[in-house]
């Protein structure tokens, strides 16, 4: 029943045995605090037990529901209490400027060499030549549709604006995703669009939107029952629905889509920087990445660890949507200035209110 998990457990166990026998656990009794979404890989039993067995440290989680909230948690007291967090690289530069992060020392990460090189070329990971973000998983926010409502896969974001889909659209409750998608739809530079045009496009879209989904659960229930028939959704989660046999399809539309990376960062004044490095090394290890991706119910995105990506079973590859050809048509999200962020946040809030 839980064969892939058991498999991952075996792999992790084997790795443990390979460690020098009799070595004391280096971080016995310490606690690592992780800031992440609920249910996003790092709080699985695989992640927690594996880390505990390797280091002796226990892990606790602080949950957020979006990049804005993540930074807000650090601003309002999380620094000094939280060791590691998992922002989108879009936010890294600004977080560095706000003094929230400390650089990552790649030499302390044995598994760094396994990260696919193209992910390490993303500019937003670096500030003044120092590495701040370690790529973990990647994916896209593409067009997800109910195959019963759309026997022919839609190929353009236009379908969200189509009057035929009034009240049947689920749209992601994220300012940057909303602005980028509207810009792609308008044929504008997704990184620097005309905001007035974006606002009108989103206001027009609002007429069709049934919900601004904030959780994968909102989206899952709505799309598999047909309460909504189309929307923008994360690749890994859509892949899980498809793999489970639900009437769901996922495409990268002709206009392109937003692509994202999830990256681990170390928070400034992290209670234990060594422990934080050990955690990141475990998170990017082949054992963990493979184990997570192979868990059919985990909704994992595609692994950034090239070795893990190469070892994926076909079923898992489809589920996590680890397709290189997708990557070429994505606009990887880029950093926003604080002013842009405030403007984007206000813009979406105003559109959402419908007033």
């Amino acid at each position: 029943m839980k064969a892939p998990i058991a498999l991952a457990g075996l792999v992790a166990g084997a790795a443990l045995l390979a460690a020098p026998a009799g070595a004391d656990l280096p971080f016995e009794g310490q606690t690592l605090t992780v800031l992440n979404w609920n249910g996003y890989g790092s709080d699985t039993e695989l992640a927690l037990r594996g880390f505990e067995e390797r280091t002796g440290a226990t892990v606790r989680h602080v949950y957020h529901s979006g990049g804005e909230e993540l930074r807000q948690i650090l601003r309002s007291g999380g620094i000094g209490q939280i060791d590691v967090a998992l922002p989108n690289p879009t936010y890294i530069l600004q977080m560095v400027e706000e003094g929230m992060l400390q650089p990552v020392d790649p030499d302390l990460l044995d598994n760094m060499s396994k990260i696919a090189p193209n992910f390490l070329e993303v500019d937003d990971l670096y500030s003044d030549g120092a590495l701040y973000g370690v790529p973990w998983v990647w994916g896209s926010t593409g067009l997800t549709y109910n195959t019963e409502a759309f026997p022919e896969p839609p190929t353009s974001w236009l379908v969200l604006w189509d009057e035929a889909n009034r009240g049947r659209v689920a749209f992601m409750d994220s300012p940057i995703e909303a602005v980028m998608l509207a810009a792609l739809h308008l044929g504008q530079d997704p990184h620097d669009p005309d905001l007035d045009a974006v606002r009108s496009a989103l206001e027009e879209l609002h007429e069709n939107v049934q919900t601004y989904w904030g959780s994968s659960d909102d989206f899952n229930r709505a799309i598999i029952t047909g309460a909504v028939t189309v929307g923008n959704y994360w690749s890994g989660n859509a892949g899980s629905l498809i793999a489970e046999g639900h009437p769901v399809g996922y495409v990268i539309p002709d206009e392109g889509a937003a692509g994202w990376l999830s990256t681990w960062v170390i928070v400034r004044d992290a209670p234990s920087s060594d422990l934080a490095h050990a955690w990141i090394d475990w998170m990017i290890s082949t054992e963990f990445q493979l184990g997570w991706a192979e868990d059919p119910e985990a909704g994992a995105p595609a692994p950034a660890n090239a070795e893990a990506a190469a070892l994926l079973s076909d079923a898992a590859r489809g589920r996590v949507q680890a397709y290189g050809e997708h990557a070429e048509r994505l606009s990887i999200m880029q950093s926003l200035t604080p002013e842009q962020q405030q403007v984007y946040t206000d813009l979406l809030a105003e559109v959402k209110s419908g007033l």
Binding site: T33, L35, W37, N38, G39, Y40, D43, E45, R60, H61, V62, Y63, S65, I73, S76, G77, G78, Q81, I82, G214, S215, S216, D217, D218, N220, R221, I224, T225, N237, E297, G299
Partner: protein
């Protein structure tokens, strides 16, 4: 008007109040992870829950916080109530006004006010902030419950004891307190459930990593849940109702 119709209405309302709860309990035995039909019986969410340390830890955290706050609220609230009934005179009205005002402020607004003030002072979120915030929300309920009882009591008993030579503290402990013990207990219980329940305060004031049960449930619902949260909710709601029924049954037996 026929009494049958009135009674039917009461049962109908009761049934409607329990409809979502029964649905939740039923769905906690449903195999679909998206809460959809056809219904297929399973116990796997309860098995998953048994392995979910985080939810149990959060439940324990919530219990400890609520117990500590309830105890403090009971003590401080009872003191205030005694003061209002015995010595307050004009001050009693002012105190009551203050208590009622504290209850009237919506929790969201109070939570934000306390958070901003705590940030301004330089304390920010933390256990102390959370404790004091929860206390100030719960304490007025305890105080008002005890004050109501004391008012029904009148000053006679305590005065009688004092006229027989008991000091004010002895008179309170030996005479008044036993008389209001049940009200104090009710006040403590009310403070407990209010603290347990107060998501806005937890959300804005708890130190990071100190996830109470409502915070865990919120993060599950917000970031995509796993149905073991169904199982936990079913246990809590079902358990609370059973406990209530058991207490009532016990009282009835005892009361003859």
């Amino acid at each position: 008007m026929s009494g049958v119709l009135w009674r039917g209405w009461v049962w109908l309302v009761l049934a409607l109040v329990y409809l979502p709860i029964l649905a939740l309990i039923a769905m906690s035995f449903n195999a679909s992870r998206y809460g959809t039909f056809p219904f297929e019986f399973t116990l796997r969410w309860y098995e998953a829950l048994a392995e979910n340390r985080r939810l149990w830890e959060a439940t324990l955290r919530s219990l400890w916080l609520s117990l500590a706050v309830a105890a403090a609220a009971g003590a401080i609230g009872t003191m205030a109530a005694v003061w209002m009934s015995r010595f307050g005179r004009g001050g009693a009205r002012a105190m009551q006004g203050l208590l009622v005002t504290a209850i009237t402020v919506p929790w969201l607004i109070l939570a934000i006010a306390i958070l901003l003030a705590a940030l301004w002072v330089g304390v920010g979120r933390g256990l102390v902030t959370l404790f004091l915030g929860s206390l100030v929300v719960a304490m007025p309920y305890a105080a008002l419950v005890v004050a109501t009882r004391l008012q029904g009591l009148g000053p006679d008993a305590g005065l009688a004891a004092r006229s027989l030579g008991a000091g004010p503290v002895r008179a309170f402990l030996l005479v008044t307190l036993p008389l209001i013990a049940r009200a104090v207990m009710s006040g403590v219980m009310l403070a407990f459930v209010i603290t347990f329940n107060n998501f806005p305060l937890h959300f804005f004031l708890a130190p990071f990593g100190f996830n109470t049960l409502p915070m865990e449930i919120y993060s599950y619902v917000i970031s995509g849940y796993v149905p073991d949260i169904n199982a936990l909710s079913a246990i809590i709601l079902g358990g609370a109702v059973m406990l209530g029924l058991a207490v009532m049954g016990w009282r009835r037996l005892r009361g003859g």
